[in-house]
């Protein structure tokens, strides 16, 4: 009959419930998956602490700097001495470490070094220090961090890379200290 | 007031059922069914497949591998393969021919070692195929400490489909516990595929069961013959 108020529509009647769903659904999904995603990112090196060439940065419990980087060409005399495979070069990166503190076990942290090449015509490539290629001749005295020294020291990371690594691309050394993950130091070489 | 009718027997039964609680009825029916099944042997113990007793040299076909155990002997060490027992121990070797009857290669797993060098009893899901029992100082039944291919002495044995290979299964035993002429029991194990893994790669298997036993008399080759 005329004069009756039109009954409220479905949306109006249920607007509170709909608002609740709009808030709770993303919150529930977020909580469900956040734990796994956070754990995933925390466990692999995903937050670089960058350093330009020659710069000293503080990472983990030490200060790091690339002191020198030498490229031994495969077809040079020095390269033949080390018995480098055909078409490869040897990149020796001297990293200066100044331990400022110790890890939770009271000893300076151990680290692992990788060479990373980005830009250029290939996808980002990485090489590990002390890979499966074994070279002739005496290697460097120290190839990785020491857990005994508390005074500044240097170590030489040797990487056997294809001859075209580094041309038209930038190289950097990534240092990972397990206790400081997901942060890792990314020291540019050039 | 309605007249109290003289109820028939059928009505009396129905009233009785109405009064009894349902749970009692259900339990009573279940008990009757169990009793009936007992007549057909439903309450007897399940039969356990007894392990067959075989002789040395008889092939025993399992669900994945066919094994033929030839002999067992004692040896001091395999120095070329770097299988050298601790002081006071010797090696007990069982020679067997293993043939893979599936159509995927099968890796034979040995007991992983604890840092102290003693063999760690592993989860039985990583199936092994032979076990020895009856040796003093050895855990009741234990997987071998290493498995070697007799032809070239390589370890990390992978048995290819339809390619029989002669293997040496090696256990480290205290020298005082075994001597030439002792009898040991060798157990042949088999495992059954339950299903393809949902998340894991490769199938899911049940625990290995002993499907055959045989007794072997130990020989002794002292420091070893060059194979």
């Amino acid at each position: 009959m005329k004069g009756e108020v039109k009954p409220a529509g479905w949306l109006r009647r249920n607007h509170r419930a709909l608002l609740a769903v709009l808030v709770l659904l993303p919150a529930t999904l977020g909580i469900m998956f956040a734990n796994q995603w956070l754990g995933y990112f925390d466990e692999w090196p995903s937050r670089p602490v960058p350093a330009a060439a020659g710069e000293t940065i503080e990472y983990g419990n030490a200060r790091w700097r690339v002191e020198a980087s030498d490229r031994v060409l495969g077809d040079s005399a020095a390269g033949r001495e080390r018995d480098l495979p055909t078409g490869t070069d040897l990149l020796v990166v001297t990293v200066a470490v100044d331990p400022t503190g110790t890890g939770p076990d009271g000893k300076p942290d151990l680290c692992s070094a990788r060479l990373e090449e980005s830009g250029g015509q290939h996808a980002t490539r990485t090489w590990s220090n002390q890979g499966p290629i074994s070279l002739d001749g005496p290697g460097p005295e120290r190839t990785s961090c020491s857990s005994k020294l508390t005074t500044p020291y240097t170590f030489d990371a040797e990487f056997v890379v294809p001859a075209d690594a580094g041309e038209s691309s930038s190289l950097s050394v990534s240092i990972v200290v397990v206790e400081a993950l997901p942060e890792y130091a990314s020291l540019a070489l050039d | 007031m309605p007249l109290k009718k003289h109820s028939s027997s059928r009505e009396k039964t129905r009233q009785l059922f109405d009064r009894v609680p349902t749970t009692w009825l259900v339990t009573a029916v279940a008990a009757v069914l169990l009793a009936v099944s007992a007549v057909f042997g439903g309450l007897d113990d399940a039969e356990v497949q007894a392990a067959t007793v075989i002789q040395a040299g008889d092939p025993h076909a399992g669900s994945e591998l066919t094994l033929t155990v030839d002999q067992a002997l004692l040896i001091d060490a395999f120095p070329e393969q770097l299988v050298i027992p601790d002081e006071g121990n010797r090696l007990l070797v069982v020679r067997a021919v293993v043939e893979n009857t599936t159509n995927e290669p099968r890796r034979l797993i040995t007991a992983p070692l604890r840092s102290s060098g003693a063999a760690r009893l592993q989860s039985t899901i990583e199936a092994d195929v032979l076990r020895i029992s009856g040796v003093h100082g050895q855990a009741l039944t234990s997987p071998p400490t290493s498995i070697l291919v007799i032809d070239d002495g390589s370890d990390k044995v992978v048995v290819q489909p339809d390619m029989p290979v002669e293997l040496a299964f090696v256990w480290e035993v205290p020298a005082a516990a075994v001597a030439k002429g002792d009898t040991i029991e060798v157990q042949l194990l088999d495992r059954v595929l339950i299903s393809e893994g949902e998340l894991t790669y490769g199938g899911l298997y049940g625990d290995p069961v002993v499907t055959a036993r045989l007794e072997l008399v130990l020989g002794d080759v002292g420091a070893g013959v060059s194979e």
Binding site: A123, R125, W127, S128, P132, P162, A165 | -
Partner: protein
Amino acid sequence: MTASRWRYLANGAALVTLLSVAAVVMHSAPDRELQQSPIRVAAALGEPASGRNIHATVHSVAVAEAVTAGNGWAGTTAGVWVVVDLSVEAVVDDVGAALGTAVLRVGDTSYSASTRPGDATVAAVGLTTGIALTGPLMFELPTDVVSSAAAATASLELATNSDPRVDSLLVVPVDLAGLDVQQSIDVDFPEWGVR
């Protein structure tokens, strides 16, 4: 018929349609095998092929009764040896990169690369980014399988992880039946570097 009868009929028809569509969707949904299948890269003998983290070229395949490896190993087998000469390298990353899957598939039977020669085969060595490792792979096969009809359409599957699911798998078709069985073959020790 009345309007309500039509409506009931229409409801029933809609329900039946919905149920049949649901049945079709359920039965054609990708099963676990399809969801987790490796990403196959077709390759040809002699041609380089690239996956996500593997780049390989199969140079030659031969069948022989006896093989002498570069480190002096000369094992015997009840069947024959299929020797594959290939160059393989990792493409982006060398963490844990090795030729984890090296499988010769004949019909529905698969044979894995033998580890008996130790480090004289490529199957046991770790790989490096961008630097090729050239060497042999050896497979032990029964003699009758090598000359069977299925051997003409055999395929060699290569991947970096021993679990090939959801990563690149290079598949190279090989005709084993068309190869002569040689008396013996000498193979070189695996070598690094551009060939």
